[in-house]
Symmetry: C2
Amino acid sequence: MAAGGARRTVPDAAVARLPVYHRCLLELEAQGRDTVSSEQLAELAGVTAAKVRKDLSHFGSYGTRGVGYAVPQLILDLRRELGLTHNWRCVIVGAGNLGSALAAFGGFRERGFEVVGVVDVDPGRIGREVGGLLVGHEDDLDRIVADHDVAIGVVAVPPSAAQEAADRLVACGVRSILNFAPTVLDVPEEVQVRNVDLAVELQILAFHEGRRSDPVETAAPVIGESASA
Amino acid sequence: MAAGGARRTVPDAAVARLPVYHRCLLELEAQGRDTVSSEQLAELAGVTAAKVRKDLSHFGSYGTRGVGYAVPQLILDLRRELGLTHNWRCVIVGAGNLGSALAAFGGFRERGFEVVGVVDVDPGRIGREVGGLLVGHEDDLDRIVADHDVAIGVVAVPPSAAQEAADRLVACGVRSILNFAPTVLDVPEEVQVRNVDLAVELQILAFHEGRRSDPVETAAPVIGESASA
DNA sequence: AGCTGTGAATGACTTCACAGCA
DNA sequence: TGCTGTGAAGTCATTCACAGCT
C-alpha cells in the first residue's frame, strides 16, 4: 500500500489518459505537426485543456509557454513514462474467437506490444495458426513465458476456465493480466488485473439509453437528459 | 457529464459497477443461493462492502437488516434499473477479426443483447457468415437499424474508417455507440460513446509494470471513457 | 499577445462508523 | 445478534483562474 514507492505519484485517472494522448500525438506527428497546445490536444483526446495540462505536469514534461508542447519531445516523454521504450511481450490464453482476433490484431505491435504465444486446452485448436503463431498447449505456457520474458498475460477463455488460466499465468511469474472473461479473478496482491467485460460496456450504454424517453415499462417517465462535457 | 436526472441520480462510478453485481448475482442464483450479504457480494464483485451498500441504496433496492439481500429480488431490481427487461438490439460495423469475434460471441444474448446485423464495406467479406448472420453491405445499415429497432452500434473497423462508421450509425438514428477503434469519435451531444481501446488497456498495465517497486492492484472498470460530446 | 504550470476551490467518489431494524 | 442504510468525514479528481514565461 503506502509502502514507500515511486516518488512521482501519478493519479490513476491521469494514467488512464496518457495512452490516449500518446495516440493522438502519433497522429499529429504523422501529419507533420511539431507543436500542439493543450487545447488542441484536449480536443483530439476528447478531454478538457486543463486536464491535459495537469496530467502532463504530473511527470514534469514541460511545454513552452506561449507556444505549446513540442510533439516529438512529448511523444518521447510519454513513451518513457509509459514504459514503451521497449516492446512488452504478451501471451494469450484462449484461442477461441476473441483470443484469435486479439492474436491477429495488428494494432498491438505498433503500439509497443508483441504477442509471442497463444495457448489453449482444446486439442482441436492446438496447432492451428492465428496471427502468424501456432496455437500451443497450455502446458507450454511456462516455457513461452520463460523463453520470451513475457510480462503480460491475456485471459480470453470462457468464464469457467478463467480462474485457472489466471492461476497458471501467475504460477509462470506473470504479474500483469488483461482479463476478458466476465469473472473477477482472485490473484495475489502483487499481480495487477484489468478487466474488459464487453457485456458490461453494453449494459452501461443500455443504462443511459434506458433513461431517455424510452418505451421501457419503468415506473418513472422521462427525466432530464444527462450529458454535457 | 452525467448531470443526472431529477430524482434518482446514480453516480457514474456506481453505474459502472451495477452490471458486475448483476453478473455475480446470476452466479449466486445458479447456485441456489437466495440471500446474500453486502460483504459476500463485495467479495465476489471485487469491491468493498460499503460500496455495495451505497451503490444499491442509490436506486432504493432495500435489503433486509440482519439478513442481507434477496438474490432473486435484487436481480429483478438490477435488471429493471439496467434496462435489461427487454433485449437490446445491436449492429456491428466491421466484419474483420474483432467484428467477427464479437458477432460470434455467445455471451451477449444471455446478458440481454442481441446482434441483429453485421456490415462491412469490403466485398470480400460481404455475404460471409459470422455468428449465424450474413455480413451485409454498409448501405444496408439503414434498413437493419430500422427493421430491428437497433439501439446500439458497435464500431469495429480500422481507425481510419471509424468516424465514417459512427457518422453512418448516427445518421440511422443510433444514439449509443461502443467504439473499439483507437480514435476519439466526434458525434452529436445526444449520442453516447464508450471507448474500448485494447492497446490502451495494455499500456496502462505496462505503466504500472514499469514501476516495479510499487505494485498496484487494479480491478476497476474503465470509467470516464464515456463521452457525450 | 499566447499558453503553460499550478495553487486554490469545487465537485465526485469512497470509506467510516453507527443508528436502527429484523 | 447481524446486517442494512446513511450522514459525516475523508480522499481523490476536476475545474478555475491567474501568475509567469516566451
